[in-house]
Structures are given as C-alpha cells and as structure tokens.
Symmetry: C2
Subunit: 291 residues, 2 copies
C-alpha cells in the first residue's frame, strides 16, 4: 500500500518545536495545511515556515459545540483569520470544525444539523464581510457523514471511524453491525468463574471506550453474537457475560471475534492489522501512525 | 539494564499454541512457572512440555473474590492440583491468587484481609489434607502490599503498580502522591475554549482508566497542582479544567506533567520511557513487553 500524498491536512494545533520541525521537513511537492486556533500557534508556524523558505496552508479552527479546541467566538475567528492572511510563510486557506458533539442516532440529528448549518453560515458571513471568505470549509464526522450534504457550506469532510466502523457507529445508525470491518481475535483463557468466560483481549486490546450516544453496556460485542458483551475488563482480561440457560457456552481454547465500541482506539493498541477476505489473510497492514 | 532472569512466573493462563511455543522455547536454565485454572490449559502445557523434554512449574490459580480468573471452589482446586501433580512434563509448585477486589483505602482493609486470610487457610488445609500442600502460595497486590505480612500463608508477592505508583495508589493510601515516579509530559495546545486548557495527552497517552476505590473525577492530575485534573479526553486531547479566579492560567506552548490514574496502562501506550533525575535525562527505557 505505498501511496504518495500530495495534499496533507494536519488537523491538530502545531504547537511545539518538535511538531514544527516535522511539518516544514515534509517534501516540497506536498501541499501542507495545518489547523490551529491561537495566535501563538500561528506565529510559531509562520516563523518556522519563513525560515524554511516555504508556505504552509492554514485553517482557522472553530468550535461549533464540541468545546474541545477551536475558537467559539466569531470576532476571534475573524481576527485570527486576518492574522493568518497577513503573516509571512503561511497561506490562509479557510476554516475547519469538528462536530463531535452531534452523537444522536442518525434519525434524530436534524435539529443539531440545522443549528450547525446556521452557526457556520453566521461565521462564514462574518469572514466574508471582512474580506476573509474561506476557500475551504472543512468539517465532517462519522456520525454525521451521510448527512454531510445538508451542511451546505461545507466543502471538505473528514470522517475517521467511517473507514472501519464500530459498535458505536452501528448503534447510532451510521452503519450496520455487519458493516463493521475490524474485529479483535481473542482466545477464551478461563471459564473457571461460573456465568462468564474470560478472553485474552482486555483494555489493552479493546480500549476502555464508552458507547457514546447510544444505550448499551460493555466495551464490545461478539461478531457472531451481538448479545454477548465484554462487560468488564482488566488490562489483559475481557470478561464475557454468558447468556442464560441453553445459550452459548465456550470452552477454554475457543476463539471469538470482538467488535470494539471504538475502533480508532483499538487500532492504536495493535502494531499490525491483518486483512482477511473469506477467512484468508490477504494482507498485513502496519499501523504506521502509532507511537 | 541487561538482566538475566533465572526464575520466571507467567501469571496468565497459557492457552493457545502460540503461548505454549514461547514458554517451552525459554532457555533451559530458566525455571519457568505458569499459573492456570483449567484442565484444558494444564493438559496442553503438559503435552507441550513433555514433547520439548522439559518440566514446567505449575501454580493452580484460585479465585479469592476478584471473580476474574481462578477456581472459586475448593474441591476444584484440589482436583486440578492433583491433576498437575500427576501429569508428565509439569511440576506442581503451589497456588496463586490475585486479591484485586481489595481496593479500599489501606486504613480500611482489615476486614477484607481477615476474610482473605481465612479463605486461603481453608484452601491450603484442604490441599494439605489431600497431600498436595503448596510449596508456594503466591499472591499480593499494590493496594495490599504493605499489609502482606498479615496474609500469613502467603510466601510470594506480586505487586505491579508498586514500582511507579499512580494517582489511584496515592488516593487509597498505598503511596504518597510525591512517591509517584511516572508522569506524562504534555504540551498545552489550545486555550480557545474559556475555562479550560487542552493538552496533547489524551486517552492514547493516559488511558481512560477509572480512579478505582477512591473518590475523585478525571483521568489524571498535574504533578505540580493536584487540584487540576484531566476531566475529559479525546484520543489526542486532554481537557484540563482550570481553577477559579486567580488560579493557574496556562499559555499555549506551556508544558505540564500529568500523574495518570493508572500507570500500568499508560506505560503500555508509550514505546519508550525517559528516566529523569534532577531534571536531567539519565536513561532511556524501551517498553519491551508492549505489543
């Protein structure tokens, strides 16, 4: 899977010399864009890019309800966009946002999407009035992916979980459970305690990720029996609560495949993924972005 | 830090050919002991060891209240110990347990330790009556480490978190906060949302580990300000809730050190630890056991 990217978005504040060094060391032919939300980050990027004799694209990150990073206030957004527009070494390309607060079931998202559309419109109008109309409006998320067309000002979408899907995505209706392409292969290592089976996939394999925006307990479900959950975990132990009389009764040594609540986290816990087609391993993918 | 171990305990059920292959491939001069709780695991180990022409030690794992792995029933314990005693390729060395259910503050553990002592005595007496008296009684945990002498039948202790300590250990009184030797160095990347600062250490650096057995919210605290917690996280974002008027106000680019709730989990998320003495890096430790 050797690919050459000509367009890279770094959707994370480029704070710290270690980040700036890596950004300006990217090959010259790559168009790099960086999202940021502070004058500190902008000024440092501008300085590093100028010294390296190159121009780095900038998105001003806006908070539209997630309350994590991004400027909430429209005047602050305009001010930072102006500063990006004036600074050497950087090119103001537009704005970005992440609507990660919209976690309702896809059938219930209409009001939240309407608010998002209106909030974006207000900000973009203010930027346009200041002659800072964004060339790109970058947003998107997996829960809202199929409603992206309704966010009419958005020109770029960045859904992440989408590529594999997971239990959370399926529970909120953004995929079907049978669309989930990532599972953790685990072995039953103990059935000593009545009513449960213990597998060798715990929090270090699945992650202790909550099922956000949906009802349901546990940290993952079996691929072949969605009613069997990993209801508790230690680092190297996953505890499966067994169904009642006449239900599934695994033996020590049996293997199971587990769909995790949150695939992004589980991927990062593994150095390698095995691509499987019709029960045959067809490829080996190194998780290159893992620290 | 090159060390040669002559005595290795594998405190995890050796289920699956991949585990058995690695166990019997350990150097001949190493005395290997394996904990297990099923005849399936025992028989497979016995077969693999016999074929490899070596003898592997066995602890029969007992459940004393954690309800994770280990046999809860004394008759089952005696039966598996007898089977281990009779099987080729293995040597019955004793019993093991993990009292991970005892998570009270150290000042409140006396009743739980008394129950543990009595439960162990009952099981050991039953084994002795069957001429299967354990040579080793292996137990221990970090929360109970300093009370180990009160568990009078125990001959081996295996506290893990103990080596670094963490916020949980400190909160339950098994260490002081200033004993915590492991911190995550993080950089403030955003202060755009009022009332909070965002650092570049989220769940992929700290782990989403609860503060078990103690009151308190969040996933870690600042080394220099224990009242500032990481109150929420995304994968690459840690959200610090800032104290009220006149309190600490970080700037983008500032660095902080965070004591995680659970150090064992955080260690596994990093490929390398840096050993620091008086603000100077004195060593680099690879996390060799990380997958």
């Amino acid at each position: 899977m050797a690919t050459v990217a000509n367009d890279i978005l770094i959707a994370y504040p480029p704070v710290g010399d270690h980040r700036l060094r890596r950004i300006v060391a990217l090959p010259e032919h790559v168009r790099v864009t960086v999202g940021l939300d502070s004058s500190e980050a902008l000024d440092a990027l501008s300085g590093a890019a100028s010294r390296a004799g190159r121009t780095i694209g900038v998105y001003v990150e806006m908070d539209v309800g997630m309350h994590r990073v991004g400027l909430p206030d429209v005047d602050d957004i305009v001010e930072l966009a102006r500063r990006a527009s004036d600074a050497p070494g950087v090119h103001y390309r537009g704005v970005m946002f992440y609507p990660g607060h919209i976690r309702e079931h896809v059938s219930q998202q209409t009001p939240a999407l309407a608010r998002l559309r209106a909030d974006l419109r207000e900000r973009i109008d203010a930027l346009a009035a200041a002659r800072l109309a964004p060339q790109v409006v970058s947003g998107g998320s997996t829960p809202t992916a199929f409603a992206s067309h309704s966010v009419d000002s958005m020109t770029e979408m960045r859904p992440g979980t989408y590529i594999f899907s997971d239990r959370t995505t399926a529970e909120i209706g953004a995929a079907r459970m049978e669309d989930c392409a990532f599972t953790v292969l685990a072995t039953v290592v103990s059935t000593a305690v009545p009513g449960q089976a213990v597998v060798d996939a715990g929090s270090k394999a699945l992650g202790r990720e909550p099922l956000r925006g949906a009802a349901g307990e546990g940290f993952g479900v079996l691929l072949t029996a969605h009613d069997v959950t990993v209801h508790a975990m230690s680092e190297e132990h996953g505890l499966l609560r067994l169904p009642g009389n006449g239900g599934w009764r695994p033996r020590v040594g049996d293997t199971v495949r587990i769909i995790p609540n949150h695939v992004c986290y589980s991927v990062n816990l593994h150095p390698v993924l095995w691509a499987v087609s019709d029960s045959t391993i067809v490829d080996r993918w190194e998780v290159a972005g893992r620290p």
